[in-house]
C-alpha cells in the first residue's frame, strides 16, 4: 500500500520536451511509472522516446486517460500550467518547478483548493511509492526500498539522505513525499500525516522540517491529537542565523520566529522522537519502532 501514487497512477509530464522534463520523465518510466503522455504547447503530434506529446492537457487527458501530472515548465509559466492541469480535471498535480513567485503560489493554492485537486510542491523533488514502482519526481530511485515507513519532508537531497539511511537499516518506505521548501505549498506536513495515519501500508512516519514559518509546530500538534503511529522528526537549520534566507524561499527565521529549536521542542512536546543529528535519522526510526514492538 501507499498514498497518492501507485499502480493506478497514469502520469503525464507538462514540459516534457525540455531538458529536465525529458530526462526525468524517462527516469520515471525506467523506474516503473506508467507514463501515458506529455504536454508541450506547439509540439503536439511528436513523441519523446515513444511517449506521445500533446498541445494541451485536456487533449492529453482525453486521449490517454491520465489522472496525474508532473510539471517542469519554467517558473514564469508554472502557475498557468497548474491552472491548466486543474481545469483539465487531473486529480494529482506534482509541481517540480522552483523559483515561482510567492504570489503566484498563493493564487495556485487557492485555485487547486477550490477545484478540489491535490497539489504537491512546488519546488519539490516529488513523490515515490517504492512498493508499487511508481516514481513521480526527480529523486534517485535506487536509494528507495519497498516497506512501511512514510516519509514527508520540506527538503530534496536531505530527504534522499534520510531515505538512504532507512534503506541501509532495512527500513523500506511506503511512500516518500517532498512537499517543497517554499512559503506556500500544496500538500502540507499535516495533509501527509493524515494520509499516512489512514494508510494500512504505513507503520511509522519520518517527518523532516526546516527553519521558517510554523508548519512544524502545527504538524506536531496534529500528531499529538490524531496520529497513533510512531513519528520521528528532524529540523534542519539550528545553526542558521536570523533574517537570512537559507536557499529555500521559506527557510528564514523572521522576527525571531521559526527557529529549529522551537520546532524541535514542539515535536518533543507532541511525543515525536527527535533526531538531534542528521546522521541519526534512520537509527532514531529503528529505535522508535523497537520501542513500540
Amino acid at each position: 500500500m501507499s498514498i497518492l501514487v501507485g499502480k493506478e497512477t497514469r502520469l503525464i509530464t507538462q514540459g516534457i520536451t525540455g531538458e529536465y522534463g525529458r530526462l526525468h520523465t524517462l527516469a520515471c518510466r525506467e523506474y516503473g511509472t506508467n507514463i501515458v503522455g506529455g504536454v508541450t504547447p506547439g509540439r503536439g503530434g511528436s513523441d519523446v522516446e515513444g511517449i506521445p506529446v500533446y498541445d494541451t492537457v485536456s487533449e492529453a487527458r482525453e486521449k490517454t486517460g491520465a489522472n496525474a501530472t508532473m510539471i517542469f515548465v519554467p517558473a514564469a509559466f508554472a502557475a498557468d500550467a497548474v491552472e491548466e492541469a486543474a481545469d483539465a480535471g487531473l486529480e494529482l498535480i506534482v509541481c517540480i518547478t522552483e523559483g515561482i513567485p510567492a504570489l503566484d503560489e498563493a493564487r495556485m493554492k487557492r485555485l487547486v483548493t477550490a477545484a478540489g485537486v491535490r497539489m504537491i510542491g512546488p519546488n519539490c523533488p516529488g513523490i515515490i511509492s517504492p512498493g508499487e514502482q511508481c516514481k513521480v519526481g526527480i529523486m534517485p530511485g535506487f536509494i528507495h526500498a519497498p516497506g512501511k515507513i512514510g516519509v514527508v519532508s520540506r527538503s530534496g537531497t536531505l530527504t534522499y539522505e534520510a531515505v538512504w539511511q532507512l534503506t541501509e537499516l532495512g527500513l523500506g518506505q511506503s511512500t516518500c513525499i517532498g512537499i517543497g521548501g517554499d512559503p506556500v505549498i500544496g500538500t502540507t506536513h499535516i495533509d501527509a500525516l493524515k494520509l499516512f495515519q489512514e494508510d494500512d501500508g504505513t507503520d511509522a512516519i519520518l517527518m523532516m522540517g526546516e527553519i521558517g514559518g510554523t508548519a512544524e509546530e502545527e504538524a506536531s500538534q496534529f500528531v499529538k491529537d490524531h496520529v497513533t503511529k510512531p513519528v520521528v522528526g528532524f529540523v534542519a537549520g539550528r545553526t542558521a542565523p536570523p533574517g537570512k534566507r537559507m536557499g529555500h524561499a521559506g527557510a528564514i527565521i523572521a522576527g525571531g520566529k521559526g527557529t529549529a529549536i522551537e520546532k524541535m521542542e514542539a515535536m518533543r512536546a507532541a511525543g515525536i522522537a527527535v533526531a538531534e543529528s542528521p546522521a541519526d535519522l534512520g537509527s532514531t526510526m529503528a529505535e522508535a519502532l523497537a520501542a513500540r514492538a
Binding site: T157, Y160, T239, G247, A249
Partner: protein, 386 residues
C-alpha cells in the same frame, strides 16, 4: 531584493499613494539645492541605507535652513551608520533623501507581508505608529489589526473600512485612509513585494494621509518579470560575496565559523552546518550549489569559500540525485588544482555514480580525505581544523 526608502516611495507614487515631496542628494551642495527646491522651511534629511533603525542611530535629522540641511548631511555622508539592524560595522551612507516637513496630526503603522499560515498577504495596521512594531507585537498584540488581502483582487473595501474604524481614524480622514490602505495592497500585488512597511503612515492637520516612511522588499523569484525594479538593485548595500555567489547561481550565506561547506540542496546544506556544530566545530558558511552544478560552479564555490580568511578547512557533502558524483568529483579535483588548495578537504559523496566519483578523488594524487557518511565527514573535518 530590498529597495531604498526613496525607491519604495517612487513605487508608492507610481501606484497613486501620497508621499512627501523629496529629492535624493549625494553631497552637501546637492542637499542645499534640494532644500531650496523643496521650498519648505521645515525639512528632513534621511540617510538612505537598507538597514532599519535609522532614526535612533542619528540617520534622520529635522532641519530648518539650507545650512542646517547641509550640516546634517555632512554628518551622515561618507560615514558608516550603525543601527540595531546592521551589526557592529554599520553601513556606509552614500546618499540622503531630503524631504519637505509636514504638519503631522497622528502617526500610524501599516505593513503587508505574506502570512504563511493563511497563505495570502496580510495587512497589519496599528494606531501606535513610529514605534518599534516588534515591541508592540510583543507587549500589546491586540493593538495590531490584521486583514487578509485577496491575491487577485487586492484589499476588499469592507476590510479597508474595518481597519480604518478599528484604528479610530477621524471621520474627515477616513476615506483617504481607506484608499491609502487599498493602494498599499495594490502596490504590493503589482510589484510582487514580499514585505512592505510604512512606519509611520501619517495624517496631517489638513486631513491628508501620507506615507512618511517606506520600506519595501521585492520577491526575488518575481524579479524576472519586473525589469524596472531589477534596475533598482543597489549592490553597494549587499554583501559582496553573496552578490558574486548569486551571479554564479549559488546560494551562499556567510557565517562566523572556520569550516567551509559545499553542499547540494538547501536542506542538506543546513543539516551539514548543524552536524559540524554538533561535533564541536563551527561552519563558516551556508552554500548550496543547486541541483546540477558544473565544474565551473564548483570552482567558483571553492573560491568564494576561500575568500573568507577564517576558513581552516572545507567539507564537501554531496548526495547525488540529478547531480552525478563523478562530475562533482572532477569539479573538486580541478578546483583544488587550479586554486592550489592547501587547507584540509574532506569529501563525502553518495548517490548517482558514487563509485566513479570516489575513484576520481582517490586517483587524483591530491590529499583529499574521503568520508563514508555525514557523521564520518563531520568528525574528520572537525578533527582536521582543531
Amino acid at each position: 531584493m530590498k529597495l531604498h526608502e526613496f525607491q519604495a516611495k517612487e513605487r508608492f507614487r507610481a501606484h497613486g499613494l501620497p508621499t512627501p515631496r523629496g529629492i535624493v542628494a549625494y553631497d552637501a551642495d546637492g542637499v542645499r539645492a534640494a532644500y531650496a527646491e523643496l521650498g519648505s522651511e521645515l525639512a528632513v534629511v534621511k540617510a538612505q541605507i537598507h538597514a532599519g533603525g535609522r532614526g535612533k542611530a542619528g540617520g534622520v535629522k529635522l532641519v530648518r535652513s539650507a545650512d542646517e540641511a547641509a550640516e546634517a548631511a555632512e554628518g551622515m555622508l561618507g560615514k558608516p551608520l550603525i543601527t540595531i539592524q546592521n551589526g557592529p560595522d554599520g553601513t556606509m551612507v552614500r546618499k540622503v533623501l531630503v524631504e519637505e516637513g509636514l504638519p503631522i496630526a497622528k502617526e500610524y503603522y501599516a505593513a503587508i507581508t505574506l502570512d504563511r499560515r493563511l497563505e495570502v498577504p496580510v495587512l497589519m495596521v496599528s494606531a501606535e505608529g513610529g514605534m518599534d512594531i516588534e515591541e508592540v507585537a510583543e507587549s500589546n498584540p491586540e493593538a495590531i489589526l490584521r486583514e487578509p488581502i485577496d491575491p487577485v483582487r487586492g484589499l476588499p473595501d469592507f476590510r479597508a473600512r474595518r481597519a480604518v474604524y478599528g484604528l479610530g481614524v477621524p471621520k474627515a480622514q477616513a476615506r483617504a485612509f481607506a484608499a491609502a490602505l487599498r493602494g498599499l495592497a495594490q502596490a504590493f500585488l503589482a510589484d510582487d513585494a514580499s514585505l512592505m512597511e510604512v512606519n509611520p503612515l501619517v495624517t496631517t492637520t489638513d486631513d491628508r494621509v501620507i506615507c512618511l516612511d517606506g520600506k519595501m522588499t521585492i520577491d526575488d523569484s518575481a524579479l524576472m518579470r519586473h525589469k524596472d525594479l531589477l534596475a533598482m538593485r543597489d549592490e553597494d548595500e549587499e554583501d559582496a560575496t553573496e552578490v558574486r555567489a548569486r551571479k554564479a547561481g549559488l546560494s551562499y550565506v556567510n557565517l562566523d565559523g572556520n569550516i567551509g561547506c559545499l553542499v547540494n540542496g538547501a536542506g542538506l546544506a543546513m543539516a551539514t552546518m548543524d552536524i559540524i556544530k554538533l561535533h564541536g566545530g563551527e561552519p563558516s558558511n551556508f552554500l548550496d550549489v543547486g541541483g546540477s552544478a558544473s565544474t565551473e560552479q564548483v570552482t567558483t564555490a571553492f573560491k568564494i569559500i576561500l575568500e573568507d580568511p577564517a576558513v581552516k578547512g572545507i567539507l564537501v557533502n554531496i548526495f547525488g540525485g540529478i547531480m552525478r558524483c563523478d562530475v562533482v568529483a572532477q569539479g573538486v579535483v580541478d578546483a583544488t588544482k587550479a586554486l592550489g588548495l592547501e587547507c584540509p578537504l574532506v569529501v563525502r559523496l553518495h548517490g548517482t555514480n558514487m563509485e566513479q566519483g570516489r575513484e576520481i578523488l582517490a586517483n587524483s594524487g591530491l590529499s583529499i580525505t574521503a568520508a563514508v557518511d555525514m557523521r564520518d565527514a563531520a568528525t574528520k573535518i572537525v578533527e582536521a581544523v582543531s
